[in-house]
């Protein structure tokens, strides 16, 4: 089952799915460089320059209120690691990212397999599953705050009505439930996008592979484990990486639901950075946190890609 005969059908299938490389167009090198230049200059100014500036201000006493920053060496780093905010926030970010990535990948894989099936209204379903990703996060967070409200929210009313609860749960206000609730809200917003990426991989599987396997008498389960899964595995791996990196980056969903509370239970590093920079006005310390987080993400990405299954990284480029 695992090896499909090298028939003409298979060669056709391979040909209709070219390797993950950019096609080779005619040269026109000067024109190409000229056309890419505006974007490269733009990104140099908006990403490279701020990153370099971030490293510099992390070494100074800069604050959001102005004044002349002084060079202070690594003392900002000593402060953020010494005052006990970075460590807990870092661990929370880790739990947030891993929990989120797992939940989102599972949802996305399930949804993609469902939407890959042919049914009436398939295109409509594929488009509108994106609804939670398209609307502003303030709408998403308001929606869930309203539905999960302890006093009037529909979720509590339904759970109470069904006799599943004795007392309403304050999902976003209780230190016990807030973290898991925000992970859920974030997954609800993000998984449709990851669904499309997995769906793209499913669409790339040539029907010939299924047909060849069927000829050999494969069951549906075998079709899934021997054809579908090997094909989408690299993409699942990439989706896991994207899900993790995007989760780490999430600021709005958390800020607009809990502001990092209750009692810091949802304070991940982006929230910490925001509070440090714009509520405590310590730009230098906030930048030191950003640099530390950037180094960790870089390390994570390098290790993750290092252990990627064959083909995963090219699939992403593709």
């Amino acid at each position: 089952m695992t090896t499909i005969p090298a028939t003409a059908t298979e060669r056709d299938a391979v040909q209709s799915h070219p390797p993950a490389r950019l096609p080779e167009p005619p040269v026109r090198a000067t024109l190409g460089r000229l056309f890419i230049a505006p974007l490269m200059i733009w990104l140099a100014l908006t990403i490279v320059l701020p990153l370099a500036y971030c490293i510099w201000i992390s070494l100074t006493s800069a604050n959001t209120m102005g004044g002349t920053p002084k060079f202070v060496g690594l003392s900002n780093y000593a402060t953020i690691f010494g005052d006990g905010t970075f460590g807990p926030a870092f661990l929370r970010t880790l739990a947030w990212a891993i929990g989120g990535a797992v939940l989102q990948t599972v949802f996305a894989a399930g949804a993609a397999l469902l939407l890959h099936q042919r049914f009436a209204g398939q295109h409509v379903a594929r488009t509108w599953i994106m609804a939670s990703w398209v609307v502003p996060t303030i709408v998403t967070t308001f929606l869930w705050r309203w539905m999960l409200n302890a006093d009037y929210g529909v979720v509590n009313q339904l759970l109470l009505g069904a006799g599943l609860l004795d007392r309403p749960i304050d999902f976003l206000g209780s230190p016990t439930y807030a973290f898991a609730t925000v992970v859920w809200i974030n997954a609800w917003r993000w998984f449709p996008f990851l669904t499309l990426l997995i769906l793209a991989a499913l669409t790339r599987i040539a029907p010939e592979y299924y047909e060849a396997a069927k000829v050999e008498g494969a069951t549906s389960w075998q079709l899934f484990t021997k054809v579908t899964l090997p094909f989408i595995q690299p993409v699942l791996y990439v989706v896991g990486l994207l899900g993790t990196l995007w989760s780490v980056n999430v600021f709005d969903i958390i800020w607009l639901t809990t502001k990092g509370g209750p009692i810091d239970t949802t304070t991940t590093l982006p929230i910490s950075i925001y509070i440090r920079a714009f509520q405590q006005f310590k730009l230098g310390e906030a930048s030191a946190m950003s640099v530390s987080l950037a180094l960790f993400l870089l390390l994570f990405a390098v290790v993750y890609i290092r252990f990627a299954p064959k083909g995963a990284t090219e699939q992403e480029v593709d």
Binding site: P26, I36, H116, Q157, F251, S290
Partner: protein, 275 residues
């Protein structure tokens, strides 16, 4: 199509659950916006058809800054889109239809920008915008919207650009067309759906952007809708009917755009760009 893992009935049930999971909260939001607040805070009451009212929508423009906020958001989104389209078009042409050293590297670089965590730029950008006088201006928002919209747009346009036959520029050049004429008269019409996708993505990204807007804009008159709505949610935290109406109206523009262009967007991810 090929692998039907489960029986059609179970599959249908699962699809309905999936669509409900996404759709039900929105239905609830719309229903809430059509009820007076007094009905919404009545225990045990879910939705009373007899009490349906448009009162919340009528109250919205007078009780809140909704009109001003929506206008600001619209302008920021339109300016961002107008700048993103030519940048993305030129970059996509360069990456997919010409060849030079470093082309693949640039393509990969664009993908890195797409997964780059914007939160890392928050503190340094605040400093840089303060120094350059761009703080508290729409320019700061437009600049960041374009930065994060264009790289992904280039990726989305891949299928549209690579499907154009290779000799077409040469044929036009023989007819005496200049490079800019070829781009404008040949490439733009052929990649029109890709331009629609770029416009959709940039508009949605700009309309929904919260993090940069909450930090860079200080003046209330310049604030965008997501930031303004946040203040509204805190201010009217007990008027769930009014807030639901505000949320519906904030979601409406992107829903309308997605009704027309959503299909191209989804297809360019699942088929065109995936190739």
């Amino acid at each position: 199509m090929a692998s039907s893992l489960v029986k059609p009935t179970i599959r249908a049930i699962l699809i309905v659950i999936l669509l409900l999971m996404i759709g039900a909260p929105f239905v609830w939001m719309v229903l809430s916006s059509l009820q007076p607040n007094s009905a919404l805070i009545q225990p045990g009451n879910f939705f009373s058809p007899a009490l349906v009212t448009f009162g919340n929508y009528v109250k919205l423009p007078s009780a809140t800054q909704y009109v001003l906020l929506a206008r600001n958001s619209l302008l920021v989104a339109l300016i961002s889109t107008a700048i993103a389209i030519p940048l993305a078009l030129l970059a996509a042409y360069s990456v997919f239809r010409t060849r030079y050293r470093g082309r693949t590297f640039i393509y990969n670089l664009l993908l890195v920008v797409y997964i780059f965590p914007g939160v890392l730029l928050l503190a340094p950008l605040f400093g840089l915008f303060a120094v350059t006088g761009l703080l508290n201006s729409w320019a700061s928002l437009v600049i960041m919207n374009v930065t994060f919209a264009v790289p992904f747009s280039v990726w989305l346009m891949r299928g549209f650009f690579t499907s154009i036959p290779n000799g077409i520029e040469e044929a036009a050049a023989i007819d005496g067309a200049t490079d800019m004429q070829i781009l404008w008269k040949v490439i733009v019409p052929l990649t029109a759906p890709g331009i629609v996708v770029t416009a959709t993505y940039t508009f949605v990204l700009s309309w929904t952007e919260f993090m940069f807007a909450s930090v860079f804009i200080i003046d209330d008159r310049l604030k965008t809708l997501p930031v303004g709505l946040e203040a509204l949610v805190s201010q009217y935290s007990i008027d769930w009917g009014l807030l639901s109406a505000a949320a519906v109206m904030a979601a409406l523009p992107v829903v309308i755009i997605f009704t027309f262009a959503g299909r191209y967007f989804v297809e360019s991810i699942t088929s065109g760009a995936g190739k």
